[in-house]
C-alpha cells in the first residue's frame, strides 16, 4: 500500500473516530469544557436565556466555589459551581419584579453544614441608587423579628447583602429563602416573611422603597 493510500485510510479512520466520539459524548452527557459552557448547557436544559453574564464571583461563602450572575430582558440567572465539576453546578432563575428584584442562593437542609454563617441576598434595580438597606421581617406565632442590613452598589450594578444566619429563630432562614426564591419547598413552614428594600442616592436621600413579596 502506498503512503498516499495509507494516509487516505488514516483520514477515513479519523472521521470514524470523530463521529463515534461525538455519539459517545452525546450518550454520556460529556463534561462541559469550561464553566461557562456548563452554564450555557444548563440554560438550554431549563429553556431560559441566553443571558448576558454580569459577573463571576469567587464565592467563599458556601458549598460552591463560584457564582455566576447573568441577566436577560426578563430575569436574572445564577449559576453556582465547584471547580472540580462545573456540570454539577446549580442554575437558578429569578424573573424580574417591577422596580427591583431580590435573589438569594438556595440551600437545602443538607447543604447548611457548608454554610459559613451568612446568606448572600442580592438586589437588582435599574434605579441609579448607590446604597441600599434591606429589612427582613419574619412573624411566627404572632412574634415578629426584624433583621436589617446595608449594602453599597457593586461595580456590576447590584447590591449584595450579607445576612448573618447564625442564631436565627426557628424557621426564619427557610421562610426568608422561600419568600425570596419563590420556589416550592418540601418543608412545612408556619409563619410569614416580608422584605423592604430602601434605595438611597449619593446624597443619602431615600429615592425608592420596594416591598416583597410583590403583589402579582
Amino acid at each position: 500500500m502506498s503512503k498516499q493510500r495509507k494516509i487516505r485510510k488514516i483520514v477515513l479512520y479519523l472521521l470514524i473516530f470523530i463521529l463515534s466520539a461525538v455519539v459517545i459524548c452525546a450518550l454520556s452527557n460529556a463534561p462541559s469544557p469550561t464553566a461557562e459552557a456548563a452554564f450555557r448547557r444548563k440554560e438550554k436544559q431549563q429553556m431560559i436565556g441566553p443571558a448576558e453574564i454580569v459577573e463571576i464571583l469567587d464565592f467563599e461563602d458556601n458549598r460552591y466555589d463560584h457564582l455566576l450572575i447573568s441577566r436577560s430582558e426578563y430575569g436574572y440567572t445564577f449559576f453556582e459551581w465547584n471547580d472540580s465539576n462545573p456540570d454539577d453546578g446549580v442554575l437558578s432563575y429569578q424573573p424580574r419584579s417591577t422596580g427591583a428584584t431580590l435573589y438569594c442562593t438556595k440551600y437545602n437542609y443538607e447543604d447548611m453544614s457548608y454554610s459559613q454563617g451568612w446568606l448572600p441576598i442580592f438586589a437588582f434595580t435599574d434605579q441609579p441608587a448607590v446604597s441600599a438597606k434591606l429589612t427582613l421581617t419574619t412573624t411566627q406565632d404572632s412574634e415578629t423579628i426584624t433583621y436589617s442590613m446595608d449594602a453599597k452598589r457593586s461595580g456590576a450594578g447590584y447590591f449584595l447583602f450579607r445576612w448573618k444566619t447564625t442564631g436565627l429563630r426557628g424557621s426564619d432562614f427557610w421562610l426568608v429563602q422561600q419568600m425570596i426564591t419563590g420556589e416550592y419547598s418540601n418543608y412545612i413552614l408556619e409563619g410569614t416573611t416580608t422584605a423592604t428594600l430602601e434605595l438611597y442616592n449619593t446624597k443619602g436621600e431615600l429615592v425608592e422603597t420596594h416591598q416583597f413579596p410583590t403583589t402579582q
Binding site: 500500500m1 503512503k3 495509507k6 494516509i7 485510510k9 488514516i10 479512520y13 479519523l14 470514524i16 473516530f17 463521529l19 463515534s20 466520539a21 455519539v23 459517545i24 459524548c25 452525546a26 450518550l27 452527557n29 460529556a30 448547557r41 444548563k42 438550554k44 436544559q45 431549563q46 429553556m47 431560559i48 436565556g49 436577560s72 430582558e73 426578563y74 430575569g75 456540570d87 454539577d88 453546578g89 446549580v90 432563575y93 424573573p95 422561600q178 419563590g182 420556589e183 416550592y184 419547598s185 402579582q216
Partner: protein
C-alpha cells in the same frame, strides 16, 4: 529454479523494511518485475541460464539495495494506520452498543391504551371507576423552543373513588414528548434534577389555574404535577397530571411562560373512549 533465486534476491533486498505488510508487498512487486523481465528475455530468444543471469545482474546487489528500500519504506505510517484502525473500530463498537436506545427513538408508538396511564398518582392506589382516553383531534399539539420540539401525544381523564368510598375525583393525565437533536441539552439527568416540565403550568376553560411543580404559589391540590423519563437518545417523555380536575371543563391549556418564552397548547376534553 529461477523463481527460487528471484525470491532469495527479494528476501535479501527487503528484509530491512520495518513494517511486515510493506515488506511482503515490496517483495512481491520486485518478484513480479523480475519474472516479467525474465519471460521477456526468453521470448526474445535468450537462453534460460543467460536470461536469469541478466535479470539478477540488472537488479544489482541485494545487500546494497536493502538499506535503500528500508529508507524509503519507513514503518511509521504502517503502524499508525494499524493503530488508527483499531481505535476507530473500538470507538465505533462503543458508539453502536446502545442500539436499544436508538431503536426506541425509531419506534413508532402504538396507540395508547387506557391502562397506559398508571403513573405516580394516588390513582395507582385507589380503585378506578372510570377512564376516558381523550381523542386528540387537534392537528398539531406541538411547539418548538430552544432546539426542542414538544408534542402532546396522549391525554386521559381518570375518575377515582377515594378511600372514604363515597366521593370521587377526576385526574387529568397528559403525556408529552420532547425531542432534541442535542441530547446533552435536553435534560439534566444527574444533579438537582427536575424535568423542564416542572416549570410548565396549566389553566382550564373554567378559569382555574394550575401552577407548575416549581412554583411555590401552587397548593398541592392544584398543582400541575410532572415526572419524566428518558425514552430514547433524542427523546424524553414527560407525564403531567392534575388531581381534582373539574370534570365539566371543556379544555385545558398547557403553558410554558418563562424568560420571554410564551407557548400554550390547548387540549379539548370532549370526546374519547370510555372504559
Amino acid at each position: 529454479m529461477e523463481k527460487i533465486e528471484f525470491s532469495r534476491w527479494c528476501l535479501k533486498a527487503t528484509w530491512q523494511i520495518g513494517f511486515p505488510p510493506d515488506r511482503k508487498r515490496v517483495s512481491q512487486e520486485y518478484h513480479d518485475h523480475m519474472t516479467d523481465h525474465y519471460e521477456a528475455l526468453i521470448e526474445s530468444g535468450v537462453e534460460r541460464m543467460e536470461a536469469r543471469r541478466q535479470v539478477l545482474e540488472s537488479m544489482g546487489d541485494p545487500e546494497e539495495v536493502a538499506p535503500l528500500l528500508a529508507a524509503i519504506h519507513k514503518p511509521f505510517w504502517g503502524y499508525f494506520l494499524r493503530f488508527s484502525r483499531i481505535v476507530a473500530i473500538v470507538l465505533l463498537v462503543l458508539a453502536l452498543l446502545p442500539i436499544y436506545h436508538y431503536a426506541k427513538d425509531l419506534h413508532f408508538e402504538e396507540t395508547p391504551t387506557l391502562r397506559d396511564f398508571d403513573i405516580y398518582s394516588e390513582n395507582s392506589y385507589g380503585g378506578d371507576t372510570g377512564r376516558t382516553l381523550l381523542h386528540l383531534s387537534q392537528p398539531d399539539l406541538s411547539f418548538r423552543s430552544d432546539g426542542n420540539r414538544f408534542v402532546i401525544t396522549d391525554a386521559a381523564l381518570i375518575t377515582t373513588t377515594l378511600s372514604d368510598g363515597t366521593s370521587e375525583r377526576t385526574t387529568l393525565y397528559i403525556r408529552m414528548k420532547q425531542t432534541s437533536l442535542l441530547p446533552w441539552e435536553e435534560q439534566d439527568v444527574y444533579f438537582d434534577y427536575f424535568p423542564v416540565s416542572a416549570w410548565f403550568s396549566a389553566r382550564d376553560s373554567l378559569g382555574n389555574t394550575y401552577p407548575g411543580y416549581m412554583d411555590q404559589s401552587g397548593k398541592d391540590e392544584s398543582l400541575l404535577a410532572t415526572t419524566g423519563v428518558q425514552s430514547g437518545i433524542f427523546t424524553y417523555t414527560h407525564e403531567l397530571w392534575i388531581n381534582n380536575f373539574p370534570a365539566d371543563a371543556q379544555w385545558v391549556d398547557i403553558c410554558y411562560e418563562r424568560d420571554g418564552r410564551n407557548y400554550s397548547l390547548r387540549v379539548y376534553l370532549d370526546g374519547g373512549v370510555s372504559a
